[in-house]
């Protein structure tokens, strides 16, 4: 099977950090507030957080998910690799969850990685994602499945993995 590459252009500048890339392309970093005690999450745990099925961090802080605008590469990657959903499925999931009371808070939406970073910086229970190259010292990058964002085995890529 021929690999499908998402070639959407980036609408904003990088934060200047050296991009954490693997042979497959740039990685998607999951960021939390510096005060958050969490350092590592499994992909499964991350999925429960992203789908609003988990409401609080171990320190008691409410979890606030911050997403980027629809259509952006980072959002597509998160939906694909973390939620395993399409945009429509994701929207429907939250609508249904809020209606049934299974989901407590719908995600916040920001249009730039800088906005995401600042949001996470300001909200102790926030979690979000940016390109690895957009990370700075104001936020904390957590490991996924024990892998750092610059590890080759890191599971979250900006582009879809090639499939045979």
């Amino acid at each position: 099977m021929v690999a499908v590459l998402l070639l959407q252009a980036r609408p904003y500048g990088a934060a200047g950090a050296k991009p954490a890339t693997t042979p497959g392309g740039e990685n998607l970093a999951i960021i939390v507030n510096q005060s958050n005690p969490i350092d590592d999450l499994s992909l499964k745990e991350l999925r429960t957080v992203f789908l609003g099925e988990r409401s609080h961090w171990p320190n008691g802080r409410r979890i606030t998910l911050v997403m980027m605008d629809q259509g952006l590469v980072e959002r597509n990657a998160a939906l694909r690799d973390v939620c395993h959903m399409s945009e429509t499925e994701f929207g429907r999931h939250f609508l249904q969850g809020l209606f049934t009371g299974e989901v407590f808070v719908s995600p916040k939406t920001l249009s730039t990685p800088t906005g995401v970073r600042k949001f996470v910086f300001n909200v102790p229970g926030a979690i979000g994602y940016v390109r690895a190259s957009d990370v700075d010292e104001t936020v904390k990058v957590i490991r996924i499945n024990g892998h750092r964002v610059d590890d080759p085995e890191y599971p979250l890529r900006l582009e879809a993995r090639a499939t045979k």
């Binding site: 606030t64 916040k108 906005g115 600042k118 300001n122 909200v123």
Partner: protein, 492 residues
């Protein structure tokens, strides 16, 4: 007299006496210039004082500005930024747009950083204990408010209805009181600056008042001093003019008297001869001798006046050349022999051997010495002895000179008159009372000639003992030339 005369060189070498004499002479001659110089000094002093006072006031105002005014401005800025911190936080409540809320959060954080920096700067400066206490309290209260602000911001950004309600509750319960404490602290700092400014303004006011009073005093003093100086200068000039007028009147009277006596004798003698009262040859010869004597006296008098006038107006042109002192003295003695013999005076002459030539105009130097000899005869008193001596010496700057002195043992000159005798038309009241005739021009003329020859005349005298006048002339020039001063005098 002998002591005074013998000590002439010693007296000339005595710094104290010579200096005092020079200073008193200078003061007398240049009183107006000295007064003007003093006025100038006072004006410069006043100017320096005023500049100093203005500088002090400027430093105080600058200190007040840097300390209180600038401090108040900074506190104003801190108050604004603190409000901005809170305002931006609350603005975030007014929107559901997360992007905008993040912007407001950002603005709030930028403003709070400025406040924190301002407080740190305030504490870093040199402060009184009370100010430091208030500053540290402000720092604590600001940190406490920021802690609440961070929670409020986080709740606002979370964006759920529950978190918004929590944000509002938290702000009301914690944010408002903690921000009030910050506001009170800032007011306290402002009040301290106000007190400081008031204190400094009082100091500046007092300093300004002192400066104004001082300046007024100094200006009044300067004005009075300047007025007194101008008055003194005018008075001095008027007195000089009056003195000169009196001297000229005395001169006219004296000259008239000097002219009238020989003219009366000549006229009476001529009348007697014309009337045939005198017919014997012997008597005629006697009358002729009288007429010749008085005619010569008249001629001498007129010559003296004309010579002084020409010297005074600078019309003389001297030919300066090396002169042998012996020759000059010989000519002087020849011209004055008859006068001395008639008066019964013996003239003793002593010229040092190997004396260098002097630089001067022959007839002018002769005239100068002749005047000194005539004066020695005229004021020689009852001891009819005159001594003319010539010897080598050094000038005031150490240059080689020849000194020619004329010494008598007559009535002498009072020390208070030693300066005046060289002024034109001056006649001592003593000699006027003693009916000794003269014009008051002999010594001024001698002095003018000496100075035109680059020389000078000094005098040592004691009342009732005698006088010694010494002509100092530069020695040693070989080639014939015209002195620049002589040229200047001649051309002016």
């Amino acid at each position: 007299m002998s002591q005074v005369v013998n000590d002439e060189r010693a007296a000339q070498g005595s710094w104290g006496g010579h200096l005092a004499k020079s200073v008193s002479g200078l003061v007398a001659r240049h009183s107006s210039s000295l007064l003007l110089f003093m006025v100038l000094c006072v004006v410069v002093g006043v100017g320096a004082f005023m500049i100093g006072d203005l500088h002090t006031a400027s430093v105080q105002v600058e200190k007040m500005y840097a300390g209180s005014v600038q401090g108040l401005r900074r506190i104003g800025e801190l108050q604004y930024e603190a409000q901005e911190t809170r305002r931006s936080t609350l603005y975030a409540l007014t929107t559901n747009d997360s992007n905008l809320q993040v912007e407001y959060a950002d603005q709030s954080r930028e403003a709070d950083k400025l406040v924190a920096d301002g407080i740190a700067q305030y504490l870093a400066e040199e402060r009184a204990p009370r100010e430091i206490e208030v500053g540290k309290r402000l720092q604590r209260d600001w940190a406490a408010y920021l802690k609440v602000r961070d929670e409020v911001l986080a709740s606002i950004l979370e964006g759920s209805p529950r978190s918004i309600k929590e944000a509002v509750d938290l702000d009301l319960s914690g944010g408002v009181p903690s921000f009030d404490r910050v506001r009170q602290d800032l007011e306290e700092v402002k009040r301290l600056y106000d007190e400081q400014a008031t204190e400094q303004r009082t100091l500046v006011d007092a300093s300004s008042r002192r400066s104004v009073i001082r300046l007024m005093g100094v200006l009044v003093f300067t004005l009075m001093f300047a007025s007194a100086s101008v008055w003194a200068i005018q008075r001095s000039k008027m007195q000089n003019a009056m003195r000169l007028a009196k001297l000229q009147m005395d001169f006219v009277a004296s000259v008239s008297h000097e002219l009238r006596t020989p003219l009366a004798v000549i006229s009476a003698s001529a009348q007697n001869i014309a009337d045939g009262v005198v017919d014997e040859r012997k008597q005629l010869a006697k009358y002729g001798s009288v007429i010749r004597h008085h005619s010569r006296q008249l001629t001498e008098l007129v010559n003296q006046i004309l010579l002084f006038a020409s010297t005074h107006e600078g019309r003389n042109r001297y030919v300066v050349r090396p002169l042998q002192v012996q020759e000059v003295i010989g000519a002087v003695l020849k011209n004055t022999r008859e006068l001395a013999e008639e008066a019964g005076f013996a003239v003793e002459e002593h010229v040092d051997a190997k004396l260098p030539p002097v630089m001067g105009d022959f007839s002018a130097v002769s005239q100068c010495l002749q005047n000194l000899v005539v004066n020695a005869v005229k004021y020689g008193g009852t001891n009819p002895k005159i001594a003319i001596r010539a010897f080598g010496g050094n000038g005031e700057a150490g240059e080689k000179e020849v000194h020619i002195s004329v010494e008598d043992h007559g009535i002498g000159i009072d020390s208070t008159e030693l300066e005046q005798i060289f002024e034109p038309f001056y006649r001592s009241p003593v000699v006027t009372a003693a009916q000794i005739h003269g014009t008051g021009l002999g010594l001024p003329l001698a002095k003018s000639i000496a100075e035109a020859m680059h020389g000078r005349i000094s005098v040592v005298s004691k009342v009732g003992v005698g006088s010694r006048f010494t002509l100092h002339l530069p020695a040693g020039k070989v080639e014939q030339t015209e002195t620049p001063e002589a040229q200047r005098v001649g051309q002016s």
